[in-house]
Symmetry: C2
Subunit: 329 residues, 2 copies
């Protein structure tokens, strides 16, 4: 059977059926952003892995090796952040075709190190292989959390409100500018949006803060807000409403004539913003907002967990809008 | 600069210069089989990653998906074994071109699970991506050891004897039989040697036992005995002698007419046997041998750590033989 017929999530279900084994130390596995396991006392070890493939996840014509190194690390640190963890050690595995030079690899690692340094993570090893075809790489990161802080996708409850940690759509808009350099945009807008795409930040502090202040389920936005909320719904066996007028759209997008009409679409389904989305019981939202405010960190309420098994995207609490890709079930 | 000009190890040196940062919790990193770090008390966390690329590390025409899954896991468990660790959690990342079917992936995971089950390791997650070119995969494994048991490549001392945990060359011979199916061999010999290649074992118990009984530096034999001893020499800044007549050659190789003349070459430089090679001070070798004997585990003394920075391969303690690939410095 072609994998296309059942899709990525259909395949993951089939894999889960084969590999699943109950284990009292393993507290999160397939279905969450990281594997999470008890390592002694109240400490939790976190492990995440991500492969990035040339021409699928990145194009060398619009990504410098430095940016690629930087962003590959951020994508994995973001997975650790979404489990309320702190990244500690990182392994990088490179599969190198002969058009990748020594200088490329050095620049890649300088970018990777910059990202690691920013979050207190160390590059502790890796692997290098040749390739007869294209360039790909894998980043695995080990991090740690605490049992009481760990947040999984399966713990959202009906009535919880949904929050995001920052404006969305900037990364997807940045990618459009990089792919279509003829697009008209001011230098400052171009620079802001492409930076969102090439040099994103991982929300480690935000993940910890959300978790300490009542977050129930949490996830990083790597595949678009609606898709990520759909993952939470699937794992928590609930539904959700996203109120379009509450979703924070990256302001810079509106300054690009050719993008402003689809700014909301980019905010709802554009990937790689690496903000966090999480659910929180209503009674805890006041203290949550206070905690974020005190640290001067942005926080936006965007929706609500409901009964059912669908993500509804509502405009002005009245009109349900249906857009391609918004409903994953 | 082309990577070919400086080779894999030249490139790793350059990467090490960029990423190196002293850290008191990180006790092993680039240069060892695993990253090793303190996780609390006397416990050590171990992390290893390995990418395997179609037509570089494996050929689908002579590896079933089940065997590929099995062996990919063993290769990484073997890295954990070489640090005297126990494998615990495994993440598998697959990069899948469209000729890989759902049934292939299922069979791959059945093999991977068999290998994991054998060593008490759990598949705890992973990642799936598409590929426009060929098939590749990455396995990352988290394991644990104890501070006093951890063995690194850099701790061999002049005068230590060198041991291996089993006969060598079988895997390389098995690969030759798989690649040249016209080779004459009895069914039983063919089956034994190809099994050595396709279904190797990881020496987890042996790694722990060696470490508890005096091993100083340790490594798994994934790239051939002489090459691995060379790694120990480089990291420990010493030399070594391997006595050819002491090296245990897989007996089955001698039963294949076309291979028997190069049986010793396969044992010295054939890869993927996944036996362990380690150094041990002379005064501890009697108790070491006793411990292995008590558990009915094989152990072979094959050489000695010396001053200098070369691996010498000696025949009958007299004649130094030089063979291509034997001296890595």
């Amino acid at each position: 059977m072609d994998i296309k017929e059942i899709g990525e999530f259909g395949l993951i279900d089939k894999i889960d059926k084969i590999v699943y084994r109950k284990d009292k130390k393993l507290v999160a596995s397939i279905g969450d952003d990281c594997a999470a396991f008890k390592i002694g006392g109240t400490k939790i070890g976190l492990l995440t892995t991500d492969s990035l493939v040339e021409d699928i996840h990145f194009k060398l014509k619009c990504t410098s090796p430095y940016d690629l190194g930087y962003k590959s690390i951020i994508a994995s640190i973001s997975d650790i952040a979404s489990m309320a963890g702190v990244p500690l050690y990182c392994l990088v595995s490179l599969i190198l075709p002969d058009y990748i030079t020594v200088e490329f690899v050095q620049s890649f690692y300088r970018g990777a190190k910059t990202a690691c340094n920013k979050y207190g993570c160390l590059i502790a090893g890796g692997d290098i292989s040749g390739s007869h075809t294209n360039f790909s790489l894998n980043v695995s990161i080990y991090g740690e959390s605490q049992q009481k802080l760990l947040r999984k996708r399966s713990e959202a409850k009906v009535g919880d409100l949904i929050f995001v940690t920052g404006p969305l759509g900037g990364s997807a808009a940045g990618l459009e500018l990089l792919l279509k350099p003829e697009t008209k945009a001011s230098v400052s807008t171009y620079s802001k949006l492409t930076k969102k795409h090439l040099r994103p930040e991982a929300k480690v502090a935000e993940g910890l803060l959300a978790s300490k202040n009542g977050a129930t389920a949490m996830e990083d936005i790597s595949d678009g807000l609606v898709g990520e909320v759909a993952h939470i719904c699937e794992q928590s066996k609930i539904g959700a409403i996203i109120y379009v007028d509450k979703v924070p759209v990256d302001e810079s997008i509106k300054r690009v004539d050719s993008l402003k009409t689809k700014a909301m679409e980019l905010a709802l389904s554009g990937g790689e913003d690496y903000e966090l989305v999480f659910s929180c019981p209503k009674r805890k939202t006041a203290s949550l907002a206070k905690a974020f405010n005190k640290k001067n960190l942005p926080l936006f309420e965007v929706g609500e967990i409901t009964k059912g098994n669908r993500v509804k995207v509502l405009h002005n609490k009245e009109k349900e809008i249906k857009l391609k890709g918004y409903e994953h079930f």
